[in-house]
């Protein structure tokens, strides 16, 4: 357990001792702030619904910035040789790193709560809907981080890790659109089920469906398990 926590602390320290953390958080805040202003002031409706939708898309572009260095950076700096020869099990490395990335996600998400101040000051938003949206956003982020981390473990090159992660995440986001082209019920439901955006849309509407919660958790778990097996196999 101490090993896992040490990895976690190292990851967080690495984010904050390099410009990544500050860059990612400020870009995400700027983007979210812009969408929030646009949605609230242009439409005059005091909700977070539209903003959450935009945050989801913005997240797809920010996730690779957080995850691309997780393993590729270690391979590149030859520090993987240290991690794999220290008394650590591969899953401890994977989970420690994942927790570090999650910390970034939570901080990013928490920072967007600043938008809620004017919303509550001048409007009358539904607290439960907003809470549900945030829960959905965090779950979506967890799945995206796990996928990004998996791809980072497959290549030495951080840029390539990011270049694979982006289209895969965008694919999962838009896969629901394929539904309209399918006549088969099976394919329609499959595409719907795999869609990151359709599950997220339920959360935004204030609906916490166990199916959606399980979906995001299962996607994360599968990606992290593949990640662990890959490290084991690489040995």
């Amino acid at each position: 357990m101490r090993g896992l926590l040490a990895i976690y602390r190292k990851e967080v320290a690495t984010y904050f001792r390099s410009p990544i953390a500050y860059y990612v958080i400020s870009v995400f805040l700027l983007g979210t702030g812009y969408f929030f202003l646009y949605n609230v002031f242009m439409t005059g409706i005091g909700t977070m619904n539209e903003t959450f939708q935009n945050m989801g898309v913005l997240l797809l572009t920010v996730i690779p910035l957080i995850t691309m260095r997780l393993f590729s950076g270690e391979y590149n700096a030859r520090t993987m040789e240290l991690l794999m020869t220290l008394p650590l099990k591969p899953w401890q490395i994977v989970i420690g790193k994942y927790m570090g990335a999650l910390t970034m996600l939570v901080l990013m998400t928490a920072a967007t709560c600043i938008n809620l101040i004017p919303l509550y000051l001048y409007g009358n938003p539904e607290t439960t809907t907003i809470a549900s949206g945030y829960i959905g956003f965090l779950l979506l982020g967890m799945a995206c981080l796990a996928i990004g981390q998996l791809f980072s473990s497959l290549t030495q090159n951080q840029i390539i890790a990011a270049l694979i992660t982006v289209p895969v995440l965008i694919g999962f986001w838009f896969i629901g659109h394929l539904q309209s082209f399918q006549s088969s019920y099976l394919l329609r439901s499959l595409f719907g089920y795999l869609s990151f955006s359709q599950h997220f849309a339920d959360f935004i509407r204030g609906l916490i469906r166990s199916e959606a919660v399980v979906f995001y958790l299962v996607v994360s778990a599968i990606a992290l398990m593949l990640n662990t097996s890959y490290l084991q196999w690489r040995r």
């Binding site: 926590l5 993987m80 020869t85 008394p87 650590l88």
Partner: protein, 318 residues
Amino acid sequence: MIALESVSKRYGSKTIIHDVSFTVGTGEIVGFLGPNGAGKTTTMRMIAGYTTPSSGNIRVAGFDMATQNEDAACKIGYVPEIPPLYDVLDVSAYLMFVATVKGVPRRAIRADLDRVITACRLEAVATREIYKLSKGYRQRLGLAQALLGKPEVLLLDEPTAGLDPGQIQETREVIRAFGEKHSVLLSTHILPEVTLICARVAIINHGRLLAIDSPSGLQQASEQTNSVTLDATAPEQPLREALASIEGVNAVSVRTLPGHESLHRVECQVDARDGIEARIARAVAGRWELHRLERQQPTLENIFLRYVGARQLDGARA
């Protein structure tokens, strides 16, 4: 402490390490010698548990590396060829990280850090970020990291590469002190280093272990084919005959030195026996003029080149 039993490593159809077996005992420093690309690093990585052998068995500190590599990892200090450092961390934070993962008790961490910082002379940079360190400091930080905890086995992949002579001296002292009570396997292609600190030498090339013995043992083994060189002013044929008749001289080759009609340089292949130079000197100096007589001592370099070169010729022929 370290025991390799017919270890092989294949990548696809290519075999990198062929059937290597050797042991390193407690209190022993073994040098691992070979040209670049001989398989030193791959063997080190297998012992350290970074990769697993395709066949064969490795035991370190009593643990089987195939099944108990995490238990063994607590006993191993490993310094890869390129020190595995996190550039954005500072020296203390980095060492703290490694010590925590190695399971050094929380209360003992501070003392352990101080111990390795002093041993590796890192006091001046303890609070500096790693990316600001010079190559020598990076190399020594790599060593410091390996000394954390209480390792019983130290694996060093070219630990003195990139250090200046003073730093090399200090690093050797650290290794020697550690090696008094523990096991050290040190890979290098710097030959004097091996003669200076290693009790035994393993020579490896093309993934095959060619020899393992003490430096003096290797020297003795190859003294059989040693040669004595002499310059003498003498008629060629009688000189040749006189030398060939001495007991212990196996072969004589004579050539005339350019510009001197009767000055010859002679190379005698002799047995590894004491006093052979004296007998040759007596035989020559009694009748003719002897200018120079020299016994060529086999240096580790010669031995190494002989092993490595012979194999390379074999390979070329095959």
